[in-house]
Amino acid sequence: MSGKSLVTATINGEEKQFLCEPRQSLLEVLRDVLYLTGTKEGCNDGNCGACSVIVDGVLLDACCMLAVEAEGSSVETIEGLATGDELHPLQRAFLEETGLQCGICTPGFLMSAKALLDKTPRPDEQQVRHWLAGNLCRCTGYDKLVRSVLKAVEA
């Protein structure tokens, strides 16, 4: 009916062009068109936060945004967090504090934590818990995740 649109967006600092249908979410395009499969699909309805990405500085669920809306935007995904082989301090802290088990929710938690630290470099525990409330984890339990973020803050 409507065919595909050509969208230009900056993904992890690099300008990309991609074709997508209007009905494809940013999540679908990240995974299935750009093959950036670090962003996970959990509930696909804005409840679990597994697909958290940062668009123009704003943390959001990629399942709740159309990819065509990303025209001209800057999108940050988990793939942009490390610098080459050098892990981001949050990633190191998650490893050291065992802030993950199965790993499906991890990219979303890391992006939420990054968005928090971008805005508030030294958050307290309450702020960390508030900013992670939009992310669900079914195996780790949240204490280790909170501890991981707080450890990255101290680092």
Partner: protein, 293 residues
């Protein structure tokens, strides 16, 4: 999700022309946190989706001589990050920080929450108590309506299929006025209201007498409910437990909740009375200059 045409007009008149051309088969897209979910599960299947976020009038957040204008496509996060809104219109920030998690707040909008017309919509009672006016545009012209007249039933509004909610405008708060919004959910974050309540009070210069008040309650009626009688009962009354309790009782009696997975009729009636009283107390404290986040 069914296929559709995506359009992103940059001018309000263009958007109005598109809404007229596709009236009934078009949906305006603001934050998408409700619409995209409904499109995915088949509850809505528009042929045309018109993105509201490229239209200046819908994305503007403006304080002009104390009057606040919130474009219909302004996100909750933009509202709660605004220091002057937190100070001057704290009940808006109360609601904006309660909806979903940070991810949802970054996308979800005041205009979308109103037009989605959920009985539990958390941003609607606060804009009602602030006396907001809805500015509506279509190819046929512009009109204004009190915000409490927009929702007409669960998922239903008084907007015609070709009409666009442009913005909500809220008069500058008077001296010695305060407002608050409270919600009950069985956990700390990320849930839909079992009941909610917003209150605004204007106190006289002594801070001891209420000159005017407005109360609105949610998730206890088919629409977010403006309880005019509860506010009117407070006019001229002293700020004390007795006046607050009688207004809260009126709010309880005005509620017509249902039994569902979130709560029973009795539970919701009790909650809305308690929440109204607490919101009134908090509004009075804020009117007296206390900073309560």
């Amino acid at each position: 999700m069914k296929d559709f045409q995506y359009l992103a007009p940059r001018r309000l008149d263009e958007a109005a022309a598109l809404m007229a051309e596709h009236a009934g088969s078009a949906q305006l897209l603001a934050g998408g946190t409700d619409l995209l979910i409904f499109m995915r599960n088949g509850r809505k299947s528009p042929e045309v989706v018109i993105d509201a976020k490229k239209i200046p009038e819908l994305t503007r957040l403006q304080l002009d001589a104390g009057r606040l204008t919130i474009g219909a496509a302004v996100s909750c996060r933009t509202v709660w990050e605004h220091p002057e809104i937190i100070e001057k219109f704290p009940a808006l920030a109360d609601a904006a920080t309660l909806i979903g998690g940070i991810q949802i707040q970054g996308r979800a909008t005041f205009g979308g929450n109103l037009c989605n017309a959920a009985p539990s919509a958390d941003t609607v009672p606060p804009v009602i108590v602030y006396g907001a006016t809805a500015h509506i545009a279509s190819a046929r012209g512009e009109r204004q309506a009190p915000v409490e007249e927009i929702c007409t039933g669960p998922g239903l509004t008084s907007l015609a299929p070709d009409e666009i909610l442009v913005s909500l405008s809220i008069p500058a708060p008077q001296a010695n006025s305060g407002a608050a919004f409270l919600r009950f959910i069985p956990r700390n974050e990320m849930d839909i209201a079992v009941a909610n309540a917003a209150a605004r009070v204007d106190l006289d210069e002594t801070g001891e007498t209420i000159s005017a008040a407005r109360i609105a309650i949610g998730a206890v009626a088919p629409v977010p409910l403006y309880v005019e009688a509860a506010g009117a009962a407070l006019a001229g009354k002293p700020v004390n437990d007795g006046s607050i309790a009688s207004a809260a009782r009126i709010a309880r009696d005005a509620s017509t909740p249902i039994n569902d997975m979130r709560g029973t009729v009795e539970h919701r009636k009790q909650l809305v009375e308690v929440l109204t009283a607490r919101a009134l107390r908090r509004a009075c404290d804020r009117a007296r200059g206390e900073k309560i986040q």
